[in-house]
């Protein structure tokens, strides 16, 4: 635990040296929600009909913004491995008294704490500015969903960060992956109206599972049975990503 807290302390000190991180962590999600979301909401007009109820695009997109923020923060944090490598400190870290798993958990824990603030800000804007009706009874599972989401994506991306030595290659791979994962998911649009092939692909995408779960916990949209399977699926994705990331870290030198 001491080692994990030491990494959190280190991440906190580094974050203090660059306020730009705060912009990415806290402001970008709000911009997506308030600019992109509101713009599309106006364009779509009266909203979309889902599961027999009319849902505004702002309501629909709220979960997308949360899952997008998790993915974006995980990318930033995994990119930190390249910065640590350039500083030479990465290899020194691996000689510190901690397991490889503790190292990974520590690296993402500070970002998880930040994501709680990020989610609180996003939800506040959704409620007070966009007048979205939240399912308050699901607030705690929603926060847990955000924290678990950021950790799962970080472990998943860490696998690539450890296996790819060049940061330009990593950037390219992540940009392509982000593009495919985002648009083949339920982040921006409901899958009910999507072509069958896209729907099939999206159903196997962990980003769809994560977004659907967050959507259920924010506005109550979704079949509880399916959402339960998506929770299980995403949990397995988290565990598998963590396991492979630890194995990859052991071979990262």
């Amino acid at each position: 635990m001491q080692a994990v807290l030491a990494i959190v302390y280190r991440e906190y000190l580094i974050r203090l040296t660059s306020p730009l991180w705060l912009f990415f962590d806290l402001v970008v999600p709000l911009m997506y929600l308030l600019m992109f979301g509101v713009g599309l909401d106006r364009a779509i007009g009266l909203g979309i009909a889902l599961e027999g109820r009319a849902v505004s695009y702002n309501e629909f997109f709220l979960a997308g913004v949360l899952s997008m923020s998790c993915f974006g923060s995980a990318i930033n944090q995994s990119y930190g491995f390249f910065v640590d490598r350039d500083n030479g400190i990465f290899y020194e870290f691996l000689t510190y008294p901690m397991t490889r798993g503790q190292f990974l958990v520590g690296k993402i824990l500070f970002q998880c704490l930040m994501s709680i603030v990020q989610a609180a800000l996003t939800l506040s804007c959704a409620v007070w500015i966009l007048e979205i009706q939240l399912r308050w009874e699901f607030l705690l599972p929603l926060i847990a969903g955000v924290v678990i989401g950021i950790a799962a994506w970080f472990f998943f991306l860490a696998i690539f960060a450890f296996r790819i030595r060049r940061n330009d290659t990593f950037n390219t791979v992540i940009n392509v992956a982000y593009f495919v994962l985002m648009f083949v998911s339920s982040m921006f649009y409901p899958l009910d109206s999507a072509p069958a092939w896209l729907r099939t692909l999206a159903m196997g995408n962990p980003l769809t599972w994560h977004t659907d779960v967050l959507r259920y916990f924010t506005i109550g949209l979704g079949d509880p049975q399916i959402v339960l399977w998506e929770i299980i699926g995403f949990g397995l994705f988290l565990v598998a990503s963590f396991w492979v990331a630890v194995k990859s870290l052991q071979k990262a030198v």
Partner: protein
């Protein structure tokens, strides 16, 4: 009987990359390091010393063989090993965007020190390494030598029983090199075991109680520093100063086949394999009638190192 600080038996490390030939970095290396000893791992570039050090510090897993650090196997008890070591890696390793003070603070926290303990020790360490005026400077603003100093100084902030130093004094000026060497000696005197790799053989000679010379992934000599020097077949260093040096003078000396021969102005420096050759060379030099001065001393570790590495390469 207590176990040695480090015990390496038949260590083998092969690297295999798809489409590339197998790299045999370490091929059956064995040595042991007693507690409180300063041990040097020497060898030319690519000899396998950094790979060996990476295995000792749990960064790499061995292909085969046994490596125990403070009694713990590096492959099966890597966390226990890491709890007993601190490491200066070969590359500069410093938090570039944190101040030197915060570099010390984070490092201390990783190794279980409280903020109070770090602050208390930081004063002594920054004085020892001449870092007092740089405590508030960010890593990114430090020169290469200062970065290295911070990296080495961190190791003396904590009390781990084994310190690994991979080319620790690289990039330091003479003054800081002296204080670092003094600090390493002081830590060893307190009972800490120090394992270092260096290409500066005079540094190794001054610091090390014992050493191993590695070449092509194999130990070609090991033992106490004096024992290894003795393996150099009683090599001698000869310095000759002439009124003037002609071709004939050099040729007459070269026929004794010295290990190393260098002409500097009116003097010749050479290393020969034994004292008989040294005396014969001086006698031959006197016959020229041009010899002004001479000196014969025991060869340095560097001379022995070159001789041993050359011999093995010839054999290979």
């Amino acid at each position: 009987m207590s176990h040695p600080a480090i015990e390496v038996k038949d260590l083998v490390k092969f690297y295999e990359k798809r489409g590339q030939p197998l790299v045999r970095a370490v091929q059956g290396v064995s040595f042991s390091v007693r507690k409180g000893e300063i041990f040097g791992l020497l060898g030319p570039n690519g000899a396998g010393k950094t790979t060996t050090l990476k295995i000792l510090t749990t960064l790499l897993l061995p292909t085969s063989g046994s490596v125990r650090v403070m009694g713990f196997d590096v492959a099966t008890h890597s966390l226990d090993v890491r709890k007993n070591i601190c490491v200066v890696v070969q590359d500069n390793a410093i938090e570039l965007y944190l101040s030197v003070r915060n570099n010390f603070r984070t490092f201390g926290r990783f190794h279980g020190l409280t903020t109070g303990e770090v602050e208390q020790r930081m004063g002594r360490i920054s004085e020892l390494f001449g870092l007092q005026e740089h405590l508030n400077a960010k890593g990114v603003d430090l020169s290469g030598g200062l970065k290295r100093r911070v990296q080495v100084a961190k190791m003396f902030l904590i009390d781990k029983p084994i310190v690994f130093l991979d080319e620790a004094t690289t990039g330091m000026d003479t003054f800081n090199k002296r204080s670092t060497i003094a600090a390493i000696k002081e830590e060893a005197r307190k009972g800490r075991t120090v394992v270092l790799t260096t290409h500066l053989l005079d540094e190794a000679e001054e610091l090390c109680d014992s050493l191993a010379i590695i070449n092509h992934g194999r130990v070609i000599a090991s033992g106490s520093t004096d024992q290894v020097k003795a393996m150099g077949l009683k090599m001698m260093y000869v310095w000759l100063d002439f009124k003037k040096i002609g071709k004939k003078t050099v040729q007459s000396i070269a026929k004794w086949k010295p290990v190393k021969l260098e002409t500097k102005g009116t003097s010749i420096e050479l290393t020969v394999r034994d004292d008989k050759a040294a005396l014969a060379i001086v006698a031959a030099a006197r016959k020229t009638g041009l010899l002004r001065n001479f000196e014969i001393v025991n060869a340095t570790l560097e001379d022995v190192f070159v001789e041993l590495v050359d011999k093995k390469q010839e054999a290979a």
